[in-house]
Symmetry: C2
Subunit: 201 residues, 2 copies
């Protein structure tokens, strides 16, 4: 005889599939929802039911859009410069850049980074669509905004090679010391990059 009621066990199992959620955490979520107002569980189920129905990808930029939208408003907005394209790995990277309030170009989501370990090759990314956009929108600058890890770097290199024949300026986000971090706490690679990218005052 099981000590946990089957329906609670099922909730725990379902939560256990979320990234980074182990059996203990899943138990905690399940038990919390059981004790809490049933409205909380209902909020989650209602939100999840609509998730896949009403979110899709912009066919041009691969940013997330609402169902009903044809293209991402970040692309169609006339105030955004279509000739400057920030290339990011995931739709959520767009959020991070938008929060800066200092980028007014458009975005292109690759849908991941090249990763031999995870079996993600160049053909799994939206590179062909990017090349097409460069021609169609007469793109002048491509800002490679992939992260600073191995996969981000190799994807950036791959993209640089892919657009070599096009007349487009390729830039990347500066690497260096994050604001507020002491020199002594910076890792060697970051410090090396900060030295390489030093600027004249």
């Amino acid at each position: 005889m099981s000590v946990i009621p089957a329906s609670l066990a099922r909730v725990i199992e379902a939560f256990g599939q979320l990234p980074g959620v182990g059996p203990r955490t899943a138990e905690r979520y399940g038990y919390y929802l059981l004790r809490a107002d049933p409205m909380k569980a209902k909020e989650i189920t209602e939100a999840l039911t609509k998730l896949h129905q009403s979110v899709s990808y912009c066919p041009k930029t691969f940013a997330l859009i609402e169902s009903g939208q044809k293209l991402s408003p970040l692309y169609t907005n006339p105030k955004r410069d279509k000739q400057i394209v920030a290339v990011v790995a995931d739709p959520f990277d767009i959020m991070a850049l938008e929060k800066t309030n200092s980028f007014f170009g458009t975005y292109h989501v690759l849908g991941g980074l090249v990763s031999p370990i995870e079996g993600i090759g160049p053909d799994d990314l939206h590179i062909a669509e990017l090349l097409k956009r460069i021609d169609e929108d007469n793109v002048k600058e491509l800002i490679l905004a992939t992260n600073a890890g191995v996969e981000g770097e190799s994807t950036a290199l791959l993209l640089t090679q892919a657009v070599e024949s096009k007349k487009v300026k390729v830039t990347r986000l500066a690497r260096g010391l994050p604001v507020g971090v002491d020199l002594e706490y910076a890792d060697q690679i970051t410090l090396t990059r900060a030295l390489e990218g030093r600027q004249t005052l």
Copy 2:
């Protein structure tokens, strides 16, 4: 204009209500489910929908039971000794004790621990029902299996006083060194308890 589609934002907000889940983690869950097979989101919604419908509390022991069951099988099972009752704070504590495979009495769930900070007083716990059970089932031993923190200790003290007039032996789980922990890493209170509870070989 929001960068995240409204339906995804709603999922993130709903997950953010789970204990210990901050905005970043909620975003991670939401985005993971969006990219994953829609079946995963469906598994969670289906499990959650049935949660409150099919789980309830045993009116005798306050353990979790399936709908359709009148009493907890851990109570009705004739192999379990109704005269020995382990008193625990939460239904999940039963799981931990059952995993030991070395307890064959029955359980009584208090539904929490006395906590002035959280506003939980003796009247919020299932103490009256425990006193009734002691008489009805002619309980001989009450094992106080509350945890070793301040709230567990004060609840244990409260229970000891509450059953003082009854002819029932009150015991509590031994405090001491956990198996596999080096003496030098044990905290002072645990070590003090281990000394106090030392046993003759």
